[in-house]
């Protein structure tokens, strides 16, 4: 980037704009999952009992643990922002670290949950799936699709937060300029928001 161009861009540093942009991006993510929730609710209405039965196959305990982990990480990431605003670099690092750790725990949990299913031959495209009746088939397809997409978002969120972590370390992210962390945190809360709906729909409503 030429010096001139750099000025051209940086002149417009506008945190309000970045934050609004992030919110708008979150809107699109909400509607992305919204489409899936629509599909879910329609199939749930049509195959009521099958959905009911299939959801019994999921472990509420794992789901509940993951919910708590995510809620907790949402809080810690919010706290890291508080810390940065108070110019408390060390605490900010710790809080981001905890958040990332929670994310990892979530993924490990998910790994075991999926692993169990796959081990039993239950995964999209498997022979077992093809033998299931329509309702069960759809439930598990949706389960893999929705949680899979959600896990992908967790990974994206983690990458964002790791970038923040390094920037905090190098003091590029400080109490004067922390919009990146703000946006990373917003994105992380989005992941949490979606899980808040996924959890009761997938695990609980049986």
């Amino acid at each position: 980037m030429s010096e001139h161009n750099a000025i051209h861009v940086e002149e417009h540093r506008d945190d309000e704009a970045s934050k609004l942009g992030m919110w708008l991006f979150i809107f699109t993510e909400l509607l992305l999952f919204g489409g899936l929730f629509l599909v879910y609710s329609i199939f749930r209405m049509q195959y009521h009992t099958a959905f009911h039965e299939s959801s019994l196959e999921l472990s509420v305990t794992i789901g509940a643990i993951n919910t708590i982990v995510l809620l907790f990480s949402s809080m810690t990431v919010a706290m890291s922002l508080t810390a940065i605003q108070k110019n408390d670099q060390k605490r900010a690092l710790i809080f981001i670290g905890i958040t990332l750790f929670c994310a990892a725990v979530f993924l490990v949990n998910k790994y075991f949950e999926w692993g169990g299913k796959i081990h039993h031959g239950l995964y999209p495209g498997s022979e077992l799936m093809a033998l299931l009746d329509r309702g069960h088939h759809l439930y598990f397809s949706l389960y893999f699709f929705m949680t899979g997409l959600h896990a992908l978002h967790i990974i994206i969120g983690m990458i964002l937060l790791i970038v923040c972590l390094f920037k905090v370390k190098s003091k590029n992210l400080n109490n004067k300029d922390y919009v990146l962390l703000e946006n990373g945190a917003l994105y992380w809360h989005l992941v949490d928001l979606i899980w808040i709906f996924l959890f009761p729909l997938m695990y609980l409503l049986s």
Partner: protein
């Protein structure tokens, strides 16, 4: 242009919010163990809605954002609900 206008939220507030959220999660799990049919679904979704609102309001600092942004967020949810309801006009009467 105003930069760094975000309100600082105290650690304590955030912790309390977390406790409330945990409590609501617990309530959802308990409620869904009663089988009340459609009522359970409604209750679970309502609580999820409340939780989502709390997350947005406090964790996502919506409480301190402009009225405009709050309206926009509400608009997105209303739009989504409208789309779902209208789709159900087809499915519910088929």
């Amino acid at each position: 242009m105003a930069n760094n206008t975000t309100h600082t939220i105290e650690y304590k507030t955030l912790s309390i919010v977390l406790l409330v959220l945990m409590f609501l999660t617990f309530v959802t799990i308990e409620i869904t163990s009663f089988h009340l049919g459609a009522l359970t679904v409604t209750a679970a979704l309502l609580i999820a809605g409340v939780k989502a609102t709390i997350v947005m309001y406090h964790f996502m600092h919506l409480k301190y954002e402009s009225l405009l942004l709050r309206i926009l967020v509400a608009m997105v949810f209303v739009l989504f609900i409208l789309i779902v309801v209208i789709t159900f006009i087809d499915y519910a009467f088929r």
